[in-house]
Symmetry: C3
């Protein structure tokens, strides 16, 4: 024992030593951080170490003993050593018999070993009760007390009482235990902290790719074409005009891509006449990524909304407005209100606002705390009914806005279609097929297939 780090971590609320002693094997970074925190929370801590003189970083209120002596002092032993060194525990199997061993280890990559570290430990020491916990907490966060992120600690283990004891410690440290069931869940728990938005990767790369394509497409048609043929420099379009063309196009396409896999699934089921054969892998993955696609679409739609609202503040916009008014004034006449234009501009704005409103509603419903308070019927009502309504409104918004361009020859610079025409292909296809699918005769057949009990059994042979 030492007094070097005496003035560090003295927050201990001096709780009348009711807590049971906890033993920590290993004096590494995480072992020390956990020990500090436990002492602060009123637990007597004893470290098990090869050398009892080794370290001046161990909290001063902790005892340091040999592994065997330390283990005998506590019912719970935290194994703060790396998996490679688990073998050295086998000679201690007698001392550890009946004790609760807490495996807190993490791996360096996903599925590094065939079985999880905790299961490996349980196999080495079959007489002990292994509980997996604490691996999702960072030592740095424990140390500094700045647990901004999740305070959840996943706990799993085969022995219910052992798990309860560990969960009580977790709570005492100010964290929230989450029971994940038996030790079989350890693999998943060990993989968890290694992930970096695994569900988001494909949707984000897809969006980035499409965005880059449409951005270049617009640069070519709006800036380079204009520069070559009209000798006008509109390079500043890169900042707002072009993003505000790409964003709505991306939002509409991604929103349609959310509903496209459902269409494919329905067609496959109708064709096969059964729901009991698995969908192709790509369709499964696509369906699992719909929420992410939808949220990215919402992000693009929000950017589009703000880029549009900002228009009147642009120097270009006020210059253009001024030019129009001055030319009227110089011609000494006021043009009357064009009622068709007024109808068109108000309609596409209103359609866009309502579509965006429903879209935001869908986004709010997908917040975890909201969707947990909603049952299946309600969730499907919102995501399916309101979702299709949003898609219809957004498609109509684009049609009304871009309609005049589709027929005008100036929309086909270099024989390339306008970006708005491109953006309408997927959503229109989805809406048309969906319209066919809800025809009573087809819908009835599909409902039968999905209810499973009235299907055509020929196909499943």
């Amino acid at each position: 024992m030492n007094k070097n780090s005496s003035n560090t971590m003295a927050l201990a609320p001096n709780t009348s030593n009711k807590r049971e002693t906890v033993c920590i094997f290993g004096t590494g970074d995480f072992g020390r951080a956990l020990g500090h925190k436990m002492i602060q929370s009123g637990y007597p801590v004893v470290y098990g170490s090869r050398s009892t003189q080794i370290s001046n970083l161990i909290p001063k209120d902790a005892e340091v003993l040999g592994h065997a002596e330390a283990a005998q002092k506590a019912a719970i032993i935290i194994i703060a050593i790396q998996r490679q060194h688990y073998n050295f525990l086998t000679p201690l199997s007698e001392v550890l018999r009946g004790k609760v061993l807490v495996d807190i280890s993490n791996n360096l990559k996903l599925n590094q070993y065939p079985e999880s570290n905790a299961e490996h430990l349980a196999q080495l020491l079959p007489g002990s009760k292994v509980v997996k916990a604490f691996n999702t907490v960072s030592a740095w966060a424990l140390q500094s007390g700045t647990l901004d992120a999740s305070r959840q600690v996943f706990v799993c283990g085969d022995d219910v009482e052992a798990k309860q004891m560990v969960m009580n410690i977790v709570r005492a440290l100010g964290l929230t235990p989450l029971d994940k069931g038996s030790l079989l869940a350890a693999q998943e728990i060990e993989n968890y902290p290694l992930q970096l938005f695994p569900m988001w990767k494909f949707p984000i790369f897809l969006s980035l790719g499409l965005t880059a394509f449409f951005f270049l497409y617009c640069v070519v048609l709006d800036i380079i074409y204009t520069y070559i043929y009209e000798k006008k420099d509109f390079s500043f379009f890169i900042a707002i005009t072009i993003p505000n063309r790409v964003c709505p196009v991306m939002a509409l396409i991604l929103l349609a891509l959310v509903y496209l896999p459902g269409i494919f699934a329905a067609i496959i089921q109708l064709y096969r006449g059964t729901k009991y054969r698995r969908f192709p892998d790509w369709l499964d993955k696509w369906m699992l990524g719909r929420k992410q696609l939808g949220l990215i679409a919402l992000a693009f739609a929000s950017l589009h909304a703000v880029f549009t609202l900002v228009t009147p503040l642009r120097a270009f916009a006020s210059w253009r407005t001024g030019k129009g008014i001055i030319s009227q004034a110089l011609n000494n006449k006021t043009e009357p209100l064009n009622h068709t234009n007024a109808w068109l501009s108000d309609s596409y704005l209103a359609l866009g606002i309502l579509g965006f409103f429903l879209f935001v509603l869908l986004g709010i419903t997908s917040l975890p705390s909201v969707s947990n308070n909603v049952n299946w019927r309600e969730f499907r009502f919102v995501q399916s009914k309101l979702g299709y309504l949003a898609l219809i409104l957004c498609t109509a918004h684009t049609l009304v806005y871009g309609g005049k361009w589709f027929l005008s020859p100036s929309a086909y610079k270099w024989y390339l279609p306008n970006i708005y025409i491109l953006s309408l292909i997927v959503p229109c296809a989805v809406l048309v097929v969906k319209f066919v699918l809800i025809f009573p005769c087809i819908d009835k057949r599909l409902t039968q297939i999905r209810q499973g009990w009235e299907r055509n059994p020929k196909f499943s042979k």
Copy 2:
């Protein structure tokens, strides 16, 4: 056993057969879906069925036996048959003695039977431990793996250990069990998946009714009146101008309706001199629907904000601006800045922005995950103090904006008051009565009544 569906659902992670065998009675849609999912998660599954040859849809790794033999192989039996057929289980009562029976059934309508299906099952088989679970999960979702919605599985039962066993299975299937207590909760759990936003129905119908009324009111005064008396066609007002009149009016009225029941409650308590008599039913229901009313009001307020911000983009708006500027230009003079107008326009915009800001803050606080992290004192501070501040700001916003119209005779077309005057009745009434209620003498009496111990006992006779 059969191999027909061999290539379907082969995701099983080949977990070293540690899981205990689970028996499923019934080979219907949900029974099969659950069996597939359990086999994928490493559970040996045995089906109990009348005919062991019946089905080629049963997962190939599952055994199919008669009911009694199947039941003997497992400690947990999932009853995937409909309530009407529960009676056939009574002859098996000896085999099922001491087993955990999981009732997964649902009804077709709310409170279909006097007692819940699970309680009915427990009465039929008093020797078994009945646990209610899985009824909130859809077979389609289990099958396709696309559990976008809630992963929560409500579990209830009188035997704690049986419940723990079922909750472990729930966790192993990648779902989140939520302990709802004893079997008495089964009725509520069975009703849950049948609901479609029960709390939202009245507020939504009320809003739709009021919206329709105000919309027609505006159409009559703004379009028909103008068309008849001024021969001007403003039919395009339907798209944006009129919605942007109806939305703020609805938002203000609904926000006031959130605070009106509290005013009524206070008056009733003051009049009765006690808090120990129940409020009338309509007031109780109204108070329970305040959150929904408030959120719908927020939706209207958001639409109003976007409709307003979009104004400069309208063809009508730029035509009107241009007309004004050109007429000045043709008259060869620049009008000086009208300071009163500048003050008025900036004030109502600022009041509206601040009111909307507080309103959004209230909305965020009502998100389940946020309100769970807030104690009573904090919740009341936000919802009551900040809520009234939002109401005051929004009322002031409307007063400053519409003030000039109230006195002008042109506001009373066909002797009907302007819509803004109508919208101010409820909020002003709420604010005036609230102002009276916070007078110290009245407030003190009310506080005494609500603290309960210093009330006037005469009335409760």
Copy 3:
């Protein structure tokens, strides 16, 4: 027993009396409210009271007995009396032996007594099983059924079975129990309902102070200076123009203050060469308040966004636009598009939009339900990487917008720098130092220190 309040609270769903009897000591406000609610939920309730004739407010279906007789009728006794009167329970210790005592008391101020009320009760009656619960629920909410706020009931206690029994009652009342571990958590649970946003106090006062300062600074420079030297009355700037100067300045400074403590921490660690000494207290507190600072910054940024978007609707803005156009029209010429201006205006708008977008993303990630679904690696990616990107974008937005003023002499009215110059000091300092800290040589050293095991042990003596 009495029948006076017979028609009050008759919602009881007539559940077939399966529930175990619950005893309530004390007929005060909360005791009565809880009793009503329990009877509604199907629990037989017996009150223990000094006088069995005392009250006509007790629910009619409840029995009222002396304390000892009442306690004998139930396994669970709810102690609805104040801590000062706990002593009178000691004579009953024999009757209460083995019973579950539920402590529901609250204190009037934080840490009023050295030990929590529940621990005090457990010391007085060592033979009973004390469970802390229900103290976070308000009697008024129980009575009126309007549980808008949190339905969470914190439960703690040393006996697991006793805790389970209490949690079942909590669930039966329609509330959500949250196990907080052993009785040591009682202090925290008793302090919880007394708090009013403790983490928000300092950030809010800091923001209010800074806002007041910048507001006055702008009033002096923009209104008073202009009035004195240019004889122009711009007092209406108070409503929108000045708030829209103060809000972005506050947002930028507060966002920088979120990242400043991390910079300080890195410097301190580099200087000390260890992470094992505690940071100074002010830095610890600052780090714990970063989330709140960031959310307030987001609020200011949102207000700035709306104030900016509203600009074209202001009477002042349309007057200024008109003046500019008319002066061009009267001079009979149209000014060509100024490409530099178009680039500048579009750039700062685009930078601001993207910065704000990332800022909102950070805000959404800090919602409890979202951050609980995110692991440490993901949380740090969002809050650190995306956060710095937002800071860079917002700083660039301000630089591009305000850049022209920094060099112009008119920016230094009364020798005071323009508010935009002031606002850039902290963010630029943060970004410059951060840029130095990510130099490979320094970053490597810092990473070593934070991983703990490769540090320089000289310093920790």
